[in-house]
């Protein structure tokens, strides 16, 4: 089947099997490997993208579900001001180690901060429940996310 959607602002017309997942489309068909895949069943959050502004697991999104949507991948966050803040704060805090989960965490935090620009630790924990990190013990990510929230607050002042 052919589906039409926008990918990082560009119109796309995609021909593939309707049940091909967005994670496969991005990584294997388009070579957009910033989106990581670590479980393929929506249980780790490594493949998060924004679909119509909402953080969504690319591995649980089938091609036919993309029709008419706007998809933003990690590559598409390069010019996003909020993402820049999140990335900076997480990097300064050395929030990640192996980093394979990092793009997914950034995506979840961008989605969280878009909805709630002043999250506390409780909101951050709730917002990251769907993301698994095996290296860090999560506290460095929480520290980075709190720093990002503070930076967002600063820019809003």
């Amino acid at each position: 089947m052919t589906v039409g959607f926008t990918l990082n602002g560009q119109t796309q017309s995609l021909s593939c099997q309707p049940d091909r997942t967005l994670a496969q489309v991005l990584r294997d068909d388009m070579g957009l490997t910033a989106t990581k895949e670590a479980c393929s069943i929506g249980r780790c959050g490594a493949c998060l993208v924004l679909i119509d502004g909402k953080a969504t697991n690319a591995c649980l999104t089938m091609a036919f579900q993309l029709e008419g949507t706007a998809v933003v991948t990690t590559e598409g966050l390069d010019n996003d001001a909020l993402a820049a803040v999140v990335r900076k704060a997480l990097a300064e805090e050395n929030a990640f180690q192996c980093g394979y989960c990092a793009p997914g965490f950034v995506m979840a935090l961008v989605a969280l901060l878009k909805e709630n620009p002043a999250p506390g630790e409780e909101n951050i924990r709730a917002g990251l429940e769907g993301n698994i990190c095996r290296c860090t013990g999560y506290h460095s990510i929480i520290r980075g996310a709190l720093a990002a929230a503070r930076m967002v607050q600063e820019t809003l002042k």
Partner: protein, 1045 residues
């Protein structure tokens, strides 16, 4: 599969009438079913275009919800927490935030396993659905009993709750959040003016629990004043009437019990079981060690370096070896045995080879070298030929133009097997009549050690504790699964890019298998997305190499998570029987240890894990009379091998719990008993070996005794549910591979062609922070700037062999190599610069960016490193390579380490009287591992190790039955999530070394995991008087202990 997206309900029904089809709402549950192997329908009817199904209307009295409303949309409905608090609470506990953006209310209900069903059963809910014969209206119960699968659920109307009603929703899972449901409970009590219960509605459901109201219990509650309810009777009734099946993770009784507990406790009743718990005596404060550093960015801002790879990682710009994509690249796939134990009768690949798009099929027949690998024992075939010994064994591999073709080709390979009886238990494996997994027998290794006279020691005992500690088949769970790519270049050199932990050894192993000289194989192993020991052994490399060699094209191959689960290594499960005696003074007088470890199908490093476990059998204590015996057995259960801690953490669990149990018996505190038995400086190691002079167990115990955690609230909390206790455990972890095995190390410092100072190490960046370490260490030693240093790592073509990135050895290797190489490199650099500048080299110093005049602060760069490089021929570029043996002692009686790091972990835990779950509130780790080379990396290792230890203790296991895993992915393998992480963590470092200690920084890769398990177990013991001896701690055993009066 065909997908149709009708615009109206009538169209959807008409399409459905045409046959083999399924309705699809959000599609998440469907995809989980498919991942488990359920067949896809011929046609999927996508309901998402029917916009009326997404509508949400809400008033003060009613929520009118279209079946395709997502859970996220419902959570955003502004008044829902006010009008429907129970429903709102339930929504928040389904899956995680991103999944809730896809999951629809209708989808959650129609799957019949949905977490929301018990909530909807107790709320006044009216549902509408449409079938071929027309619209129907009814209750949720009607929907569940009707053959509604033939229709479309269209609308869910939920009445608002009553003000002042008592309600409850609780999801009990396998971890704190984002968890499969063990059982969900929902309840509402409508109360009258005199607190009499006018109406009671109770329901359970979630996961495998059939969603159902609980009418018998409702009758018991209805019509009575709430204060006169006989809650014990209600509890009994719930236990008798809740229907809940068992699965591999929780028993039926556990599900019923926690549901009954949750109802009774949540509605205000008293829980069965005791309400009195031990009062904890905190340890008396010992002399606090001076100079302990609380690790944080603010503690030493000048030492907080942003790792060079973290910005590219968060931006998704760092290319992992599994990210390589190029147009001519083939995709590889591996055929797994699927049977735990079988003889191979024949392998026919002809149909696969004939499939268009297949470029290479390889089997054992393509192996020119030795079809056996293994770091120490070469017993694992690259591709099986005579037998398969576990379900994940590799039998054949395919490279094709795309993944789909490769997978189709796998299905066309015909392998005939003769099934053999599987050996699935290490105890059974060692019976004399057990089927032989390997010709050599099922006992892979047996180790003995004895000192003194154990019998005599036990005769002197005032108290003896004997327990069996059982530890799990933990999965490494690196986020990047095993994989990479390979190609053969024009010079017939094989290039292997695959995540690993020792490129030079991977090269050696590949050379043996392929019969290709090592100098014709280049192995690149960095960056790797996590390893923790699980990529120390070869993983995909043999198949990948064979495919690249046969197809003559680049091939990429990465295991799916499910395949990684099936084929990848796990931690060796162990059973440790430990018998420990103290005399009347509280001094250890004898210890006997019996370990039975499981190797799985092949040895890999399992024998080393066993040996390391036994080496740590006394922890940091001095015991005169010891006898240890360890065996490791082959089974047909998966494969096991190296994993952070390498046996030491399992043994630390046992010895540290013994200490608390013994302390209780003789009336000492946790610190008193330890203080009486600690190792002292100058003592030999446990096996009698020479050890490095720095001993810090005393200081770690003293630091722990001062912990503020001892003065936080303990005992039963006012909520009546949580019981808090604090536990302590010491940590003693050897570094390096040990005395009995070669442990070569080395490194290189050189000036590169483009003028950077390269720190070349055959070590790997697995996440631990090697790049920062190299930059900092080289810059500090030479005096140049950090930005002048370029780490060159993880590539056998570009960096010298440094040994493996395991066993907490990397930090030492970088530090020691740099120390060794720096003086000569500095001399060469200054000599070359002196020549150009026509100055005496002794007047020059290396600084930030280039050479400066020694002893002045002029700040003028006399010559930049780049300028120096430009003026030198390649052969004249300064370069110093060093090679040496990782420090070890002379001990030959077994494997014994020279260098140890020390630590103490404190856990403050809360134990639920409702569920038996243990949550870690606070986790503090004190460490003594010599100088902190990089603050962020050190902290990261301690914190990260802690959470892996927490998982090992509370949630992680990969159970097996009949040689097959009972979990296949991260839906039921419970890696700790963010809500499992302790509420607060704090890490400390004591950096000093003893006078004359020449061994510098100890590694901390394994220090963070070592003592977490016994700290948690001892905290549980402190809180409820029950010492958990099985991990992950089964909540059922905690509930049983709470019931004992």
């Amino acid at each position: 599969m065909d997908v149709v997206s009708p615009a109206s309900l009538s169209q959807a029904l008409a399409l459905h009438a045409e046959g083999d089809s399924r309705f699809c709402a959000g599609g998440t549950a469907l995809q989980l079913d498919w991942a488990k192997g359920l067949a896809k329908p011929a046609r999927l009817i996508n309901l998402a275009r029917i916009s009326e199904l997404k509508r949400i209307e809400q008033s003060d009295s009613l929520a009118r919800i279209g079946a395709l409303a997502t859970l996220a949309a419902l959570l955003e409905t502004s008044n829902l927490p006010g009008t429907h608090p129970l429903f709102h609470a339930a929504l928040q506990q389904v899956a995680g935030p991103s999944i809730r953006n896809r999951v629809t209310l209708g989808g959650n209900m129609m799957g019949r396993t949905g977490c929301l069903l018990p909530a909807l059963l107790v709320l006044r809910t009216k549902v509408q659905w449409l079938t071929h014969t027309g619209g129907l209206t009814g209750s949720v119960q009607d929907l569940l009993t009707a053959s509604a699968s033939k229709g479309i659920l269209t609308r869910i109307d939920i009445d608002a709750q009553h003000p002042g009603e008592r309600w409850l929703f609780r999801k009990i899972g396998l971890r704190a959040a984002f968890t499969p449901s063990v059982i969900n409970v929902a309840a509402r009590l409508l109360l009258g003016d005199r607190n009499e219960i006018l109406e009671a509605r109770l329901a359970v459901g979630g996961g495998i629990v059939p969603p159902a109201r609980l009418p018998e219990a409702e009758v018991l509650l209805t019509g009575r004043p709430i204060e006169t309810i006989d809650w014990a009777q209600v509890h009994d009734c719930l236990m008798a009437t809740i229907e809940a099946p068992a699965d591999a993770f929780r028993s039926s009784e556990y599900r019923r019990k926690v549901a009954a507990n949750a109802f009774v406790h949540g509605l205000g009743g008293d829980l069965p079981g005791r309400r009195t718990f031990p009062v904890q005596t905190p340890p008396q404060p010992l002399d606090r060690p001076a100079g302990e550093l609380a690790l944080s960015r603010s503690a030493r801002p000048e030492a907080w370096h942003q790792r060079p790879d973290v910005a590219p990682k968060v931006a998704g710009k760092l290319a992992y070896l599994t990210d390589a994509r190029q147009p001519d690249m083939l995709v590889g796939r591996i055929l797994r045995a699927g049977l735990p134990h079988a003889r191979i009768l024949s392998i026919d690949t002809s149909a696969a080879e004939a499939l268009p798009g297949v470029m290479a099929v390889v089997t054992h027949r393509d192996i020119k070298g030795s079809n056996a690998f293994g770091i120490v024992v070469q017993d694992q075939p690259a591709l099986c030929f005579d037998k398969v010994r576990y379900a994940g064994d590799a039998v054949a591999a395919v490279a094709a133009v795309d993944a789909e073709t490769a997978e189709r080709a796998l299905s066309l390979i015909k392998v005939e097997y003769e099934a053999l009886a599987p050996v699935t238990d290490p105890e059974a494996a060692l019976l004399h009549d057990a089927p032989r997994i390997h010709e050599s027998g099922n006992l892979q290794r047996e180790l003995h050690f004895a000192r003194g006279d154990v019998e005599k020691g036990f005769r002197r005992a005032a108290h003896i504790v004997e327990k069996i500690y059982v530890t799990p088949r933990q999965m490494h769970g690196f986020m990047e699964t095993e994989g990479g790519y390979a190609f053969v270049d024009d010079h017939e050199t094989l290039h292997m890019f695959a995540g690993g932990q020792h490129g030079a050894r991977d090269c050696l192993q590949l050379s043996r298998i392929l019969a290709i000289p090592e100098d014709k194989i280049r192995v690149v192993t960095s960056p790797t997305g996590g390893a923790f020991g699980g990529k120390d052994e070869l993983t995909v490399q043999p198949a990948l190499a064979l495919l690249a060699l046969k197809s003559r094209k680049p091939v990429r191959l990465q295991l799916s998570r499910a395949e990684s689960m099936l084929a990848g290594q796990k931690r060796n499960p162990m059973s440790i029987r430990m018998k420990t005696a103290i005399d009347s003074e509280g001094r250890l007088v004898a210890q006997q240890v019996e370990v039975l470890a499981e190797a799985g199908a092949y040895a890999s490093l399992g024998p080393g894990v066993l040996e390391t476990a036994l080496e740590h059998a006394a922890g940091p204590y001095n015991i005169e009379n010891v006898r240890t015996h360890g065996r490791i057995a082959y089974t047909n259960n998966g494969v096991c091998g190296a994993f952070r801690g390498f046996g030491a953490n399992q043994m630390t669990y046992a010895i540290e719990c013994q200490m608390d149990k013994l302390a209780r018996l003789c009336g000492l505190t946790a610190s008193e008993i330890r203080q009486r038995n600690l190792r002292k400086p100058g003592m030999t190691g446990y096996l009698g070996q020479r050890v490095a002079p720095t001993e810090r167990a005393d200081e770690m115990l003293a630091a722990a005794s001062h912990s503020p955690l001892w003065s936080l609230p303990q005992g039963l909390q006012p909520d009546g549910e949580w019981i808090i206790g604090t536990g302590l455990a010491l940590n003693y972890q050897g570094n390096g591979l040990g005395s009995a095995v070669p442990d070569p190390a080395g490194g290189r410092i050189s000036l590169s062609r483009h003028g950077s100072i390269e720190g070349g190490f055959g070590l790997d960046e697995l996440g631990q922070g090697l790049l920062t370490l190299v930059k900092t260490t080289v810059a500090n030693e030479l005096g140049c700037g950090r930005e002048d240093v370029e780490p060159v790592i993880g590539d056998t073509a570009r960096a010298p062999d440094s040994g493996s990135t395991t066993a907490s050895r990397g930090s030492y290797v970088v530090w020691a190599s740099t120390k060794l190489a720096a003086p000569e490199f500095s001399r060469q650099m200054r000599a070359a610069a002196g020549c150009i500048l026509e100055r005496d080299p002794d007047t020059l110093a290396l600084g930030k960016g280039g050479f400066f005049e020694r002893g002045t602060n002029s700040g003028e760069i006399l010559l930049r490193y780049r300028q120096l490089a430009e003026q030198l021929d390649d052969k004249d570029l300064p370069s110093v390579t060093v090679a040496y043996e990782f420090p070890k002692n002379e001990y030959t009686g077994g494997n014994a380490r020279l260098i140890f790091a020390f630590g103490a972990a404190l856990a403050r835990v809360a134990i639920s009287r409702v569920t038996g779950e243990v949550r870690v509130l606070d986790l503090h780790q004190h460490t003594a591992a010599g100088p902190v080379m990089d603050l962020a990396a050190y902290l990261g290792q301690i914190e990260g190790g802690a959470l892996q230890g927490l998982g090992f203790t509370l949630t992680e296991d990969a159970p097996m039955r009949d040689g097959h895993y009972l979990t296949s992915n991260l839906d039921t393998y419970m890696l700790p999530g963010i809500q499992d992480a302790p509420q607060r963590m704090q890490s400390f470092a004591l950096e000093s070394l003893a006078d004359g200690d020449i061994y510098g920084p100890r590694g901390v890769g394994e220090l963070g995991i070592g003592a977490v398990t016994p700290a948690i177990a001892n905290a549980v013991f402190a809180a409820i008087g029950h010492l958990p001896t099985v991990t992950p701690i089964p909540p059922e055993t905690i509930l049983a202990a709470l019931e004992e009066r």
